[in-house]
């Protein structure tokens, strides 16, 4: 029972990271209807920036904040420089652009920082918290994720800028007619998504190790989480992320072992999607004839 509980709680820690990344995906999806396949690699790259700073002697939290800010800028620049050009392109063209960004970030990270795995420090001590079920570190990961999600919620719910971004995501033409600078809102969305991704990257890197490929699998889980929750629903993305984290851990521990857990987790998700094609909390498709 104790081991089971531990698996569930450890799953929640991973799930919190998937949830954050899934939220970043949903944010870009809502305004552009594209899934950013490069989100994971962007986050990985951000994590390397943090690692480089910490390695150079910068205190953890200063490096953390600088990384989040730098990632925000990178996100904005990518939107303005690359994504804007394919705004009206067919969906598969955009997919190829995302793949291009993915391989570029991956390759550049490997080139600058080498492909050898690195230890990424955690700001939290590793001793157990409240008995043997969860380490302070895992609890810290969950706590940071919850904090990020709460801040985002407050931002979107209560600030004029958040409102402008929501309006833009829902109806760009109407937003423009209200005087909102729609182009900047999209860039801002990319910046925010990149910043959230950076937090997720730094959290997961302290659970696993840091290497250029560390987020490819995580991104797949995040996409699955976003789809499972209903791709246009931020709340669903968070629930989906947590559910997948737990599911993955339990599968790995009790059912199929770590080798096949990715496959099985995906199979389960696809099974769910076949019965609920718009995800657990997604809106039903309405097709205009």
């Amino acid at each position: 029972m104790e081991a089971f509980l531990h698996q569930v709680l450890a799953g929640l820690a991973n799930g919190a990271v998937y949830a954050s990344l899934a939220l970043a995906l949903v944010m870009i999806y809502q305004s552009t209807h594209h899934i950013n396949f490069a989100q994971g690699e962007m986050a990985m790259f951000s994590t390397y920036l943090a690692w480089a700073m910490i390695n150079a002697g910068v205190p953890y939290w200063l490096a953390f904040v600088s990384t989040v800010l730098a990632s925000f800028v990178i996100g904005v620049v990518i939107e303005r420089a690359v994504i804007r050009r394919v705004a009206n392109a067919p969906v598969l063209t955009v997919v190829v652009v995302f793949i291009a960004l993915l391989v570029i970030f991956n390759s550049v990270a490997g080139w600058i920082f080498s492909y050898t795995i690195k230890v990424f420090p955690s700001p939290f001590p590793s001793q157990p918290l409240f008995g043997p079920y969860i380490s302070t570190h895992e609890a810290g990961v969950v706590g940071i994720s919850v904090l990020v999600l709460t801040l985002l919620y407050l931002f979107f719910r209560f600030t004029p800028l958040g409102l402008a971004m929501r309006a833009t995501a829902e109806n760009p033409v109407s937003a423009r007619l209200a005087g909102i600078r729609v182009g900047w809102m999209l860039a801002l969305g990319w910046g925010l998504a990149a910043a959230i991704g950076a937090v997720a990257g730094m959290m997961i890197a302290s659970i696993v190790y840091l290497d250029p490929n560390m987020l490819s699998g995580v991104l797949l889980y995040a996409i699955a989480a976003a789809l499972l929750g209903g791709i246009d629903n931020p709340f669903g993305a968070v629930v989906g992320g947590l559910a997948i984290g737990v599911l993955e851990n339990l599968m790995g521990a009790y059912v199929v072992g770590t080798e096949l857990k990715l496959t099985v987790a995906l199979a389960v998700i696809i099974g769910v999607l076949i019965f609920r094609p718009t995800g657990l909390f997604g809106r039903a498709f309405v097709t205009r004839v």
Partner: protein
């Protein structure tokens, strides 16, 4: 002095023009209407005025040339557009929709007063201010669309068929309030309508549009008496 002066305006979609050299003006503080059948270019005209379509020609808003400027800039100069289909943010609440309307304004106290003014004109919106806008009725959404545009404190309000798809009683209600708003708030209005009778009742000046050209213009009462307008648009 006119608040809006348009001369030799060409606009359209892709390579084909819908508007072929339109010239007209909107009197400051007045209500001007543009009548025309389906496909005459009424919606295109309003979209062109607020920069949603590429244009050739001159559009002068209170002395400022706005042709070719981006929509956001034109809106910030005081042109509010109530688009066809109303453009409601369906997932936002009624109040949030209004806040989006006022999002470019910095005068917070005045915005708060405008909320009260709007709710006085449309008490229904006040009742439903925390409701998701997607759940409002068609008439309520039209009221919301007009209110959202008013929250900008515009000099010029562009209205695209506010009567479309609404019950006659609701339409009368909305048009009555529009007249009040025009009188009290001194907002100039450019109204595009298929319902010629309603539009001519409300407006001071009218233009008749046919296939992208102005074919007739004058005081609304004069156009109402013109034979071709009567037969083609009023049906008697």
């Amino acid at each position: 002095m006119p608040v809006l002066e348009v001369s030799d305006l060409h606009a359209g979609y892709g390579r084909s023009d819908v508007l072929h050299g339109l010239s007209f003006s909107v009197e400051d503080g007045g209500i001007t209407t543009v009548l025309g059948a389906n496909g005459a270019g009424k919606t295109t005209l309003l979209r062109a005025l607020c920069g949603l379509l590429p244009v050739r020609g001159s559009i002068v808003l209170a002395g400022t040339q706005i042709a070719g400027r981006p929509t956001e800039a034109i809106v910030r100069l005081g042109v509010a557009h109530v688009p066809d289909g109303r453009g409601t943010f369906l997932n936002l609440s009624t109040e949030e929709n209004l806040r989006v309307g006022a999002i470019t304004r910095r005068d917070r106290a005045e915005v708060a007063r405008d909320f009260e003014r709007i709710y006085a004109y449309f008490p229904r919106l006040k009742e439903r201010r925390h409701q998701q806008a997607g759940t409002l009725s068609g008439g309520e959404q039209q009221m919301l669309a007009i209110s959202r545009a008013l929250m900008l404190r515009p000099r010029l309000l562009l209205l695209d068929e506010p009567s479309f798809g609404l019950a006659p009683l609701v339409v009368q209600d909305i048009f009555r309030i529009m007249r009040t708003i025009n009188a009290e708030q001194k907002v100039s209005m450019l109204l595009v309508e298929q319902n010629a009778s309603l539009a001519l009742d409300l407006a001071n000046t009218a233009y008749l549009l046919e296939t992208g050209r102005v074919v007739m213009s004058g005081p609304a009462q004069e156009l109402r008496r013109a034979d071709n307008v009567r037969q083609a648009y009023l049906g008697y």
